[in-house]
């Protein structure tokens, strides 16, 4: 089901283009602030915690755990599971869980990033380890 689903290409902009360029190489990037040391997602130029502009790109392990999820039973493109993953590096992010039995997802379950193609840069999703 999820393989067949078509996703729109990210629009991208000057601030986020490096994320999408890295995604094309299969790398999942986050931003870290060199002033306060905090990582954040989605990536911003100005640190949302300390407002420093000294933020740098960092490759994430792409590993994390499910913080929460909800299985949307019906949609025009079929059922899908939306949720939040808390990355090993700290930040939590919204995603869909794919390539698995959607009815067996559990909070706390270990997951890893997988990219799905679009007509532009690929999009990050997560799948159980």
């Amino acid at each position: 089901m999820s393989e067949a689903k078509k996703y729109s290409a990210p629009v991208t902009n000057a601030e986020t283009a490096p994320f999408w360029e890295a995604a094309k190489q299969g790398k999942f990037m986050i931003k870290r602030c060199t002033a306060c040391g905090e990582a954040h997602y989605f990536p911003r130029s100005i640190c949302p915690f300390c407002y420093s502009d000294k933020t740098v790109w960092e490759q994430s392990s792409g590993e994390g755990t499910i913080y929460t999820y909800s299985l949307m039973r019906k949609s025009p493109t079929g059922p899908y599971a939306i949720g939040y993953v808390t990355l090993k590096e700290g930040p939590s992010l919204q995603t869909n869980f794919v390539d698995c039995d959607l009815t067996t997802l559990k909070i706390g379950q270990k997951v890893k990033v997988v990219f799905k193609p679009t007509d532009g840069a690929p999009l990050p999703f997560f799948t159980p380890v």
Binding site: T16, H40, Y41, M72, R73, I82, Y84, P91
Partner: protein, 385 residues
């Protein structure tokens, strides 16, 4: 500086329609404006402040023109857009403007046709590329909150179901309610799963319609015929994932808007006789009751169980019109009808079967946006004078 006691709700109107294929959205705005102005005993040309949100076609200036407001007199406009709680925020902003002398008779309108018209798309934020593909909707965004609340606090589907049961007990007396049948906990649990763990009956209705308010000065309110209801406390707040740090979907921005409103009013949740709580989903109510301090965080499930929200039965009568879960949810925005039913209760105009005896203090609280993603909250404390 405070707005406590400086603004009165002198006019209310809730559109009786839930299905309006024969009307335009602007027309519904005009009909609710007319209704609220007449309820107050005022005329359109008295209005000198206008408040509307994203549901108003084209925004404030086309609406002011369409409504035929007196532009020589109109001197304050506010189009703050925070989804379903916009109108509770407008109420506070109207009180601020009135207290500052910027207007004296404010009109707030909400109307729209999600059942029979086209809903305008929500403008994308900076997060669009990083979130839109994942298909967050109201159902699954609130589902994610409920799932984590159950995980952290042991909240159950049975407890959530009690919220719908209470709403249905009230809706049976509302001739305009979309769903008038009293339902049981079993009915809710047996309704189809929509987005885990929320069943169909955990979700509000989708309805056309609208509502409007007139907010005015103490002096003008006292010169009018309706029972006097004033705003004594108000709060607003916003919450989002904020870079993904310390994500916690088990509480809402109500933890900030609530105390702000109660502090300004100088009262506590124990003093409240009636509560209008935005019920987009059952979990919305449960989390808001905790966040507002009606019970401790994590104890909302116990608090709402066994009919505690049913008027005449439990300790905290809520949404006595049947709320969004049973009566209506105009334009997918519940804030306006929450204020209106609270004013009815304070005026003594609620249905006799659900009227709270000697109702002198009420709360109207709502959220807007997606509780599981980004949202606003606003709290109003209202008093019968």
């Amino acid at each position: 500086m405070t707005i406590k006691g400086k603004a009165y709700i002198a006019g209310i109107f809730e559109h009786p329609t839930r299905h309006a294929p024969d009307k335009s959205t602007a027309q519904l705005h005009a009909e609710v404006a007319k209704g609220a102005i007449e309820d107050a005993g005022l005329s359109k040309d008295d209005v000198d402040g206008y408040f509307c949100a994203g549901d108003a076609p084209g925004g404030a200036w086309p609406m002011v023109d369409y409504l035929g407001l007196n532009t020589q007199k109109l001197r304050h406009v506010d189009s703050t857009e925070t989804g379903g709680c916009s109108y509770i925020i407008h109420l506070g902003h109207a009180a601020e403007a009135i207290a500052a002398g910027k207007c004296s008779i404010a009109l707030i309108t909400l109307a729209g046709k999600p059942r029979t018209g086209v809903m305008p798309p929500r403008a994308a934020g900076a997060e669009a590329d990083f979130e839109l593909a994942y298909g967050a909707t109201t159902h699954n965004a609130y589902g994610m909150c409920a799932m984590r609340h159950m995980h952290d606090y042991g909240t159950t589907s049975v407890q959530l179901a009690w919220i719908k049961v209470a709403a249905s007990h009230h809706a049976q007396y509302n001739p305009h309610a979309m769903l008038k049948d009293v339902v049981t906990v079993e009915d809710v649990l047996n309704s189809p799963m929509i987005s885990d763990p929320l069943h169909r009956m955990d979700c509000c209705v989708v309805s056309d319609g609208g509502g409007a308010l007139i907010v005015t000065t103490p002096e003008i309110a006292k010169s009018l015929k309706k029972p006097q209801v004033r705003l004594i406390g108000h709060g607003e707040a916003m919450k989002g994932p904020r870079g993904g740090k310390d994500l916690d979907l088990t509480y809402s921005a109500g933890v900030w808007s609530g105390p702000r409103a109660f502090d300004e009013a100088g009262i506590t949740p124990k003093d409240i006789k009636y509560a209008s709580i935005y019920d987009s989903f059952t979990i919305t109510v449960l989390m808001q009751l905790e966040d507002l301090g009606f019970c401790k965080k994590g104890e909302g499930g116990k608090f709402v169980a066994d009919g505690n929200l049913i008027s005449g039965v439990g300790k905290l009568p809520f949404n006595t019109d049947g709320g969004g879960l049973c009566s209506n949810h105009p334009v997918n925005r519940g804030g306006m009808t929450k204020i209106i039913e609270a004013v009815r209760q304070l005026r003594g105009e609620a249905h006799p079967k659900v009227q709270v005896p000697n109702c002198d203090l009420a709360i109207a609280h709502g959220t807007g946006g997606l509780l599981g993603v980004r949202h606003a909250a606003s709290t109003a404390i209202l008093e019968r004078v």
